[in-house]
């Protein structure tokens, strides 16, 4: 049975069984591979996407849950790296191996949607579900603050 939802603003219809995790639908059936598989248990945040604007772990979200809803992936931030978070990530040269960064960026984007001036505690609370094995945390923190400052000006 097909499931319909909006992915990055476009209507999609997918064939995967209802209990298939959204992550694998996005990666293997739709073919958008920016969203990563890290743990399969919602422990690492590499698979973070937005569901109606809220950050969710797509590895633990059955595709049936998103029927009729809006899903946004890393590919929705911008293709040309013009989103304030992408610009800040580049300015601070945040990524190392880079594998977790799609998830980090999506968690950060969700934070800044509701909080344009996050404190260190706000950042800890929003970001501690996202593991970075390269330990880029301090640069992530700095980049979130830079992006927030830009968004406050806008």
């Amino acid at each position: 049975m097909a499931t319909q939802f909006k992915l990055n603003g476009k209507e999609v219809s997918v064939q995967a069984e209802a209990d298939t995790p959204l992550l694998w639908v996005i990666r293997d059936e739709i073919g958008l591979t920016g969203t990563k598989f890290g743990c399969g248990m919602a422990l690492c945040g590499a698979c973070t996407v937005h569901l109606d604007g809220q950050p969710i772990r797509s590895c633990q979200t059955p595709v049936s849950v998103v029927a009729g809803k809006q899903v946004a992936t890393i590919e929705s931030l911008s293709k040309d790296n013009s989103h304030p978070l992408q610009k800040a990530w580049i300015a601070h040269d945040v990524p190392q191996c880079g594998y977790c960064q799609s998830g980090q960026l999506m968690s950060a984007a969700a934070l800044l949607r509701t909080n344009k001036n996050p404190s260190d505690t706000d950042i800890d609370n929003a970001m501690s579900g996202n593991i970075c094995r390269c330990g880029t945390y301090n640069r992530i923190r700095a980049a979130i603050k830079t992006a927030a400052a830009e968004m406050r000006k806008a």
């Binding site: 995967a16 069984e17 298939t20 995790p21 694998w24 990666r27 293997d28 059936e29 073919g31 958008l32 591979t33 920016g34 969203t35 990563k36 598989f37 890290g38 743990c39 399969g40 248990m41 422990l43 690492c44 992936t73 890393i74 590919e75 931030l77 911008s78 293709k79 790296n81 978070l85 992408q86 990530w89 580049i90 040269d93 945040v94 990524p95 190392q96 191996c97 880079g98 594998y99 977790c100 960064q101 799609s102 960026l105 800890d124 609370n125 970001m127 501690s128 579900g129 996202n130 593991i131 970075c132 094995r133 390269c134 330990g135 880029t136 945390y137 301090n138 640069r139 992530i140 923190r141």
Partner: protein
């Protein structure tokens, strides 16, 4: 130890050459060459007619920045804008051998040290060839020409882009002798430079192994024995085969693979498999038996270094102390679970994925599926972390075997549970330490005896009973102590073990730097002053130690409940000191607030990457210092995922202050040393905080309580 390591691997591993100027191309550049629009003056530089310049990195990009630092070295001498070049990861070829390791390997913090001269020479050669091509074209003496910013210019306003000259240049002889720039004239090297891979890594377009797609590709999930090394004896695939999307179920050496139209289908069907196993000898190993084996090892004692007569000095010392330190098994836990894509067809095999050891991947895939190495093509993607795990090639061999069995391109992806339970773990280690002090508290003797398992015996066929240089790193301290012995007992536990970021530096530095703190306490001296007094003949050690102490305000009052610890080490030709400031709560949980690092790593290519690597190494080292540990029960790894193998998170990350010493020395490695030092720095701070000397990693509440 560096010399030993180099000489040893040169003689045992795949043979490598120096600067052979063959021409080898990533496949995607092949077509352009065939079409005559791309020219390859040497193996490192490709110049297209439209002046697009592609520089090759022979090292895998796993976060450490070689995708930028390797091209920087070439670009400095070639005379091109680093922001305008394209970068490709090199294919497998002798010219790309890492001379420090004797094979095409990314590891051991060697990339810059290996490339430092070689890549600058390669850039200079191509520049000279371009200048000579211009000289011939304009019939002018080459000495009158200048090459910079991708152009050759000469008198009378003559100017040609490298692209315009490349075809002619690539036909000229390669100059044998080149003069390299004086470092004071560097325009790129030593300047903080933005990474060239960042743009791809913030919009989801960077291709990792897990993202590879080939036409007609199917997906595999592999059931391996819960006991590492166990082999399948029989299996029932009836249920699995009836599940949606399943294409085939095949047995390979390491297990039973379900192949399906999507990875999720493969993984779901795998859960329905029933496999019988021959668990093999590892099933007899548990943590306790491993510890006993190490403690009671009867293997030969191999000397690392002997200075003076430590036994005699210990005998006559006025104060003696001794201690045992234990380090546990550890997993690498790269963020990208192990995976590889293979396509076997008509006696050839293409394997694509995250590899740190391209030649090993090529040779072992070839062996496994009965091909010659030259019939196996290895392509390297970005690596979602490496840390030593991807020096192995088990997953690449498995992917190739599965592809051959089903006759289709296959992407094999491990689950996180597969990854945690089928690693090549950092070996368990025991250090027996002893020291003697004279009546004034001055050390007169120090002995270190490490019992652990040689990785190199398995990985590179090191003969038993010979010194494994990868166990002796940072075993010999820089302190001026007149009588010292350092020795090694290589004991094979039976479990496969692997190289883990900083390898034995982390083991030896934990024991040495904790124990020197114990010696300072026994002498009733300040741990910083005690160390410094032993470094009069070691200016590079003394300098970083003083800097770390000064920057951290050593000796000055701290906030209530905060304490400091200090540690010092040389590794990878890099001298480093760290001070950690911590607090400990009533449940014995450690919070690391702030870390100060001072490092002298000689000349640097990209100082911003150097800082990033230090930050990264501290996070990596803290994960294991504070909580992560692998344990074994009847050969089964007890940890499966990030809930029981915790790694550092944002809220646990300390502030880090880094001071880099300006230097004209040769470059040192920086991908790993800070990993090794944070453990002892925190352990020493823990002693300052609690008076408890925790001699067993991790510094968990249990270990603190029982210390």
């Amino acid at each position: 130890m560096t010399t030993n390591r180099r000489e040893f691997l040169k003689t045992t591993a795949v043979v490598g050459g120096g600067l052979t100027l063959g021409v080898f191309l990533p496949a995607q550049l092949d077509q352009a060459v065939a079409a005559g629009t791309l020219h390859t003056p040497n193996a490192w530089v490709h110049i297209a007619d439209d002046n697009t310049i592609t520089l090759l990195s022979a090292r895998s990009e796993m976060g450490q920045g070689v995708y930028t630092s390797m091209p920087m070295l070439i670009a400095e001498e070639l005379g091109v804008d680093i922001r305008k070049v394209k970068v490709e990861i090199a294919p497998v070829a002798p010219v790309y051998t890492n001379a420090l390791l004797g094979a095409q390997i990314t590891g051991g913090s060697t990339s810059v040290r290996d490339g430092w001269e070689k890549l600058r020479i390669a850039g200079a050669q191509v520049r000279i060839m371009l200048v000579n091509a211009a000289a011939a074209k304009w019939k002018i003496d080459a000495a009158q020409l200048r090459a910079a910013d991708g152009k050759v210019t000469g008198p009378g306003g003559r100017s040609a882009t490298y692209g315009e000259l490349a075809e002619a240049a690539s036909k000229l002889p390669v100059p044998e002798k080149v003069t390299l720039k004086d470092p004071k004239d560097f325009k790129i090297i030593g300047k903080p430079t933005k990474r060239l891979d960042t743009a791809h890594k913030v919009n989801g377009t960077a291709e990792y192994g897990i993202d590879v797609k080939l036409p007609g590709m199917v997906y595999a999930s592999l059931e391996q024995c819960a006991v590492i090394g166990g082999k399948p004896t029989s299996f029932d695939a009836a249920k699995a085969k009836a599940m949606p999307g399943v294409i085939d179920v095949v047995q390979i050496r390491d297990g039973v693979a379900v192949v399906a139209d999507t990875w999720w289908h493969a993984k779901k069907a795998r859960e329905a498999l029933a496999v019988q196993w021959d668990e093999g000898p590892v099933a007899r190993i548990s943590n306790a038996s491993m510890r006993d084996g190490i403690r009671n090892a009867k293997d030969a004692t191999i000397p690392i270094k002997k200075t003076g007569d430590a036994n005699a000095a210990l005998g006559s010392a006025s104060k003696k102390l001794s201690a045992e330190y234990w380090s546990p098994l550890l997993a690498h836990a790269t963020m990208e679970p192990q995976n590889f894509t293979a396509s076997y067809k008509d006696g050839k095999c293409l394997v694509i994925g995250p590899a740190q050891f391209q030649q090993g991947t090529q040779g072992n895939v070839a062996n496994a599926i009965g091909l010659k190495p030259e019939d196996v093509t290895v392509k390297t993607t970005f690596l979602g972390g490496g840390f030593g795990r991807r020096l192995e090639y088990d997953f690449a061999v498995q992917a190739a075997e599965i592809s051959k069995a089903v006759g289709k391109p296959v992407k094999l992806v491990w689950t996180r549970e597969d990854d945690t339970t089928h690693d090549f773990y950092r070996p368990m280690a025991l250090h027996r330490m002893a020291a003697g002090l004279d009546a004034s508290g001055k050390p007169v003797a120090l002995t270190l005896q490490l019992t652990s398992q040689s990785i190199t015996q398995r990985a590179f066929g090191l003969p038993k009973g010979t010194l494994d240089p990868f166990m002796a790193e940072a075993a010999v301290v820089g302190y001026d102590i007149p009588n010292m012995t350092q020795e090694l007992i290589e004991h094979d536990s039976g479990l496969r073990v692997g190289y883990w970021r900083s390898v034995s530096h982390a083991l030896n530095a934990f024991a040495n730097e904790s124990f020197i703190d114990e010696m300072a306490a026994a002498a009733r001296k300040d741990p910083y002053q005690f160390r410094l007094a032993l470094l009069e003949k070691q200016p590079r050690f003394a300098k970083v130690l003083k800097l770390a102490a000064e920057k951290s305000g050593w000796g000055k009052p701290l906030p209530k409940g905060h304490y400091r610890g200090i540690a010092l080490m040389e590794g990878y030709d890099t001298y480093m000191a760290q001070v950690a400031e911590i607090s400990v709560d009533k449940d014995h949980a450690i919070k690391v607030h702030h870390v100060w690092v001072a490092a002298d790593l000689g000349q640097m290519v990209n100082p911003d990457t150097v800082e990033a690597q230090i930050q990264s190494s501290i996070a990596f080292g803290l994960s294991s210092a504070l909580g992560a540990e692998i344990t074994l029960d009847k050969g089964r790894v007890q940890q499966t995922n990030f809930h029981d193998y915790p790694v550092l998170r944002m809220n646990e990350m300390p502030k880090i202050d880094i001071t880099l010493v300006p230097s004209t020395e040769k470059p040192g490695g920086i991908g790993e040393p800070a990993t090794a030092l944070i453990g002892p720095a925190v352990a020493n701070a823990l002693f300052a905080a609690t008076g408890k000397r925790v001699r067993q990693l991790p510094l968990s509440a249990d270990h603190i309580r029982s210390a």
